[in-house]
């Protein structure tokens, strides 16, 4: 593998193209079948992190008979280390709305919602202005589609799609049991497409430039390019659009400070890749998936502190309804403290590893299921830092 190959930077998401009414009209004139086929051919997978094939999601929702359907854009960007959606909304918000319109046309929805992270309230004036123009264009194009914005209130778990619906409905933001999935039972119990901000933009771009061109980027499992939010011990933090399929090694060569010890891929809910695994770990669905968060740590960082911080976050941000997540997070958090202080033997880490495995397979939603990712990868790779 040519690990030293420089990364391919791409400019699709933020490019100024595809914004005027005529171009939108052209995209919207495509049939639902065409749009869905294009997405399926492109291999686009959700950009929020979970990576569900977007074409399938739209297809499942379109196939539902219910006349009432919704398009929801998940802009509750709460994963630690992620800040790309904020930038998309700030710089090319109109593209997001256009992508939602394309989805609405495809699945047959008349209402769309942008669920905006509460801390991004400052974007509202700008977004409302863009929405005004968007609604004018919708009218001019004879399309009956309206988008509203709902603000979150700061709970991380509300980025989980079913908790997000509950929050939008004015209820407590707690994840639902699945199945049924949102394509069948989403917002207000109606078939709903819920996608990440970036996914809507990518779906729009793919239907403009064609799947063939798009899928030339990336690998078999991870097609295309995506935005990365790069932070931590790097001289050049920021947002970059990169072709998928690079190794962590390639990534570190480009963004590291020369002393990178570990990279946390996918935020607190993601995986920690230690230096020894940089060369054979691919960033993508075949290796370590990410919704965009990339945090670099150099050798001055204590991985115990990193993990302690994540667990502190999870024990507070768990919605608290299911046992494995609510109690499990507290046990992991206090457990590593007890080991560090010598109140529990080092072997207690094995108990905790097993617990994190149980959380992974029994928690009700993605939050509790993914706490084990960082726990496992940090404890296993930096065991001595946990103990001494």
């Amino acid at each position: 593998m040519a690990n030293n190959k420089p990364l391919k930077k791409v400019d699709l998401i933020f490019s100024e193209a595809f914004l005027n009414r005529d171009e939108l009209k052209e995209v919207l004139s495509r049939s639902a079948d065409e749009v869905i086929q294009e997405l399926l051919d492109s291999g686009l997978r959700g950009r929020g992190g979970a990576g569900f094939p977007t074409g399938l999601k739209w297809k499942f929702t379109r196939d539902q008979k219910d006349p009432e359907k919704y398009v929801v854009c998940n802009a509750d960007e709460g994963e630690p280390g992620t800040f790309k959606d904020r930038e998309i909304l700030d710089r090319v918000g109109r593209k997001v709305f256009n992508g939602m319109a394309l989805c609405a046309r495809t699945i047959g929805a008349k209402e769309g919602y942008l669920y905006l992270r509460g801390e991004y309230r400052f974007l509202l004036p700008k977004l409302y202005q863009i929405l005004d123009e968007f609604h004018e264009d919708m009218k001019a194009l004879g399309m009956d589609f309206h988008i509203d914005i709902k603000l979150g209130s700061g709970a991380y778990v509300c980025g989980e799609e079913s908790a997000l619906f509950e929050s939008m409905q004015g209820d407590r933001g707690e994840p639902r049991n699945k199945p049924p999935y949102p394509t069948e039972y989403g917002f207000r119990g109606k078939p709903t497409v819920i996608n990440n901000v970036e996914t809507f933009v990518s779906a729009l771009i793919i239907n403009r430039i064609g799947a063939e061109k798009y899928q030339k980027l990336g690998t078999v499992d991870s097609r295309g390019s995506k935005l990365f939010s790069i932070s931590g011990d790097t001289p050049i933090p920021g947002i970059y659009e990169l072709e998928l399929g690079m190794t962590v090694e390639q990534f570190v060569n480009e963004f590291g400070d020369g002393d990178t010890k570990a990279v946390q891929v996918g935020g607190a809910a993601g995986f920690c890749v230690p230096r020894k695994k940089f060369t054979d770990t691919i960033i993508g669905f075949e290796g370590v998936p990410t919704g965009g968060s990339m945090m670099l740590f150099n050798s001055s960082r204590s991985m115990y502190n990193v993990l302690h911080n994540y667990l502190d976050f999870f024990k507070e941000e768990s919605c608290g309804q299911c046992t494995p997540c609510r109690v499990g997070c507290q046990q992991l958090f206090l457990g590593i403290e007890a080991v560090k202080r010598g109140e529990k033997p080092a072997s207690y880490l094995e108990t905790l590893l097993k617990l994190s495995q149980t959380m992974k397979i029994t928690a009700k939603c993605g939050l509790g299921q993914s706490v084990g990712n960082s726990f496992h990868s940090i404890v296993n790779n930096f065991r001595e830092e946990m103990i001494y």
Partner: protein, 592 residues
């Protein structure tokens, strides 16, 4: 749907869960947050099972059974996960079981007992947190240190009762079951119905018990301790003493109470008959005022007032409709007021030295007895209220072998009752009892139903409407000739709210409304033995109607002790004395 569970082929209809399918084959999957009366939560994760081909385990209570599924309920993966989950729950639970009121009747304890894990797998989280126990309410105690956050209580309060006094607050490690701004239960919209207590799997929600106070009174030489037993207790007490649901244990209960040392064992059924006399007359009087006097101020429809959970609910929720509520006190309170006046006088007992104890299927009765309005005898009319569960505990404490006790009769007076009184314990019973008497007062004939069984008002439907046409009245009641008396029965406060909403919006018009706060009426009351479910409630109801059918007297107005008290003491229904002792008023309360 055809699936395989632990190698066994199971066929279930669409919409059933994996848990339903397993139970149909008597395959035991442990559960905690699941309850037959409530919507599925899928919170506790105790019921996770392995679905072959799926990486994660699935919650069997929340996952629909699907064709071709292969489920393992007892694989190593499942066992290990279940063990972890139960240990996690225990680590967050104040497991000081010997100091817990639910010791011996706790679902978490039962799971732990099944698990037989003898070491502490995880850190004790309870000692790292502070908890306050809410003990302000005379009815319900809420101890968060025992709470496992299954949210059964929250679902009960919201779905069955539409009260939502309990809700979930905060998140993560601070997540807890709370009230409006964490006020004490006593100060919020809680109706004290105790349905949450019936469904709490642990000791987090329990009744406030007065067991020691009652023993103290019994052994106080200076006191004359009178006990009354509510209609629904006699068909459920057995469950608290290892008998199957649906056993009628009236005679054994009387025998046990006598052996425990009560000075007189009397019956709330007696005052239920008294209630019918007062309430039936009140209804007819209101109808007369409306139809003959054309009094615009008379409030119709009239609702029953026996259920203290319902009373507090309407005080909070529809205070503008309080004039519609019958002014009659509940049978418990009528009993107390009469016991400390008429009865005390008759027995030559100083009412100041009399202690009235009641055995109720209800936690709200504890609150009711404490209401300031309930002191018309010059004393606190009812001193101490015990639930059916507390009586069960006391019978065990007394060392009585309940099952081998003989059947004994109530003492007299205030001990005789009709079948109409016993059916107060079931939803529709007050309506049926009232109709048996009112119809006869108006027409001089028995209600036109075979065996006096007014079946249209019986059953477990949440809202049941029935109408009865009045024909060939006696001369005094000519104004009711041809009137179609429209009635409705509702049980569970969600249904009650619906009916009152209809009335308020003018969508429905009735003359008489019976409302019971609890599902199934008092037989499903918040003070009844745990567990409860539709099947158990149906068995209790069946027992109640059996008890009614077996009674020599079936109509309240034919109860000789009732006839006697009107002759000797009260005069007639709604007399001045009745008003003083047997009627009350209500107060408006805040909506939170």
């Amino acid at each position: 749907m055809k699936l395989k569970i632990d190698g066994v082929e199971v066929q279930v209809e669409k919409g059933k869960t994996i848990l339903d399918a397993a139970r149909s084959q008597n395959i035991h999957i442990p559960t905690l947050c699941h309850h037959e009366d409530l919507c599925v939560a899928g919170n506790c994760r105790v019921c996770v099972v392995e679905q072959v081909g799926t990486r994660n385990l699935v919650a069997s209570c929340a996952t629909p059974a699907a064709d071709g599924m292969e489920i393992r309920t007892n694989s190593l993966k499942v066992r290990n996960a279940r063990k972890h989950i139960i240990e996690l729950l225990l680590s967050e639970h104040n497991a000081d079981c010997t100091k817990c009121y639910k010791n011996g009747n706790c679902e978490l304890q039962a799971l732990a007992s099944e698990l037989k894990n003898t070491e502490h797998m995880f850190l004790d989280l309870v000692e790292r947190k502070t908890f306050t126990v809410d003990m302000y309410s005379p009815s319900i105690i809420k101890d968060d240190s025992r709470c496992i956050r299954c949210q059964r209580c929250v679902r009960t309060c919201e779905e069955l009762q539409h009260v939502s006094a309990l809700g979930v607050a905060h998140k993560g490690d601070r997540m807890k079951i709370s009230t409006f701004f964490d006020h004490p239960m006593f100060e919020v919209v809680c109706t004290n119905c105790g349905q949450c207590v019936n469904r709490c799997p642990t000791g987090a929600l329990i009744e406030r018990n007065y067991i020691d106070e009652v023993w103290d009174a019994i052994y106080d030489e200076d006191k004359f301790v009178v006990v009354q037993t509510a209609p629904a207790t006699r068909v459920a007490l057995g469950e608290a003493l290892d008998l199957p649901p649906g056993e009628i244990v009236t005679g054994k209960m009387v025998a046990a109470l006598r052996r425990m040392g009560f000075n007189a064992v009397l019956d709330t059924d007696w005052s239920a008959d008294l209630t019918i006399m007062e309430e039936g007359t009140e209804l007819l009087t209101r109808l007369k005022k409306a139809l003959v006097d054309k009094d615009p101020n008379v409030a119709l429809p009239m609702t029953t007032s026996c259920s203290p959970g319902w009373i507090k609910f309407i005080e909070h929720t529809f205070p503008e409709m309080l004039p519609n509520v019958s002014t009659c006190k509940s049978p418990q309170q009528m009993f107390g007021a009469i016991a400390k006046t008429y009865y005390a006088n008759k027995m030559g007992v100083d009412p100041a030295k009399m202690v009235v104890v009641s055995i109720m299927p209800c936690t709200a009765k504890k609150f009711e007895a404490d209401r300031p309005e309930m002191r018309s005898s010059g004393f606190k009319d009812v001193d101490l209220v015990l639930t059916t569960r507390e009586l069960g505990i006391m019978i065990r404490q007394a060392g009585l072998d309940f099952n081998s006790l003989p059947d004994e009769d109530y003492d007299s007076v205030l001990g005789q009752s009709s079948g109409a009184a016993v059916i107060f314990g079931a939803t529709g019973g007050v309506m049926e009892a009232a109709l048996r008497t009112a119809y006869e007062i108006v027409t001089g004939r028995e209600v036109p139903f075979e065996g006096l069984n007014i079946t249209p008002v019986r059953g477990m439907e949440g809202v049941r409407e029935a109408s009865i046409e009045i024909r060939d009245t006696l001369p005094d009641w000519k104004f009711l000739e041809g009137v179609e008396l429209r009635t409705v029965v509702a049980h569970g406060l969600t249904n009650a709210k619906q009916v009152m909403q209809w009335v308020k919006e003018g969508k429905k018009s009735y003359h008489f409304i019976e409302i019971m706060a609890c599902p199934g009426g008092c037989l499903g009351g918040g003070g009844q033995p745990i567990p409860t479910n539709a099947e158990i409630r149906a068995k209790r109801a069946e027992a109640i109607y059996r008890e009614d059918a077996g009674k020599a007297i079936r109509k309240s107005h034919e109860n000789p002790e009732i006839i006697a008290i009107y002759k000797e003491f009260l005069g007639e229904p709604l007399s001045h004395k009745s008003h003083e002792l047997l009627h009350t008023h209500y107060v408006e309360r805040n909506r939170y």
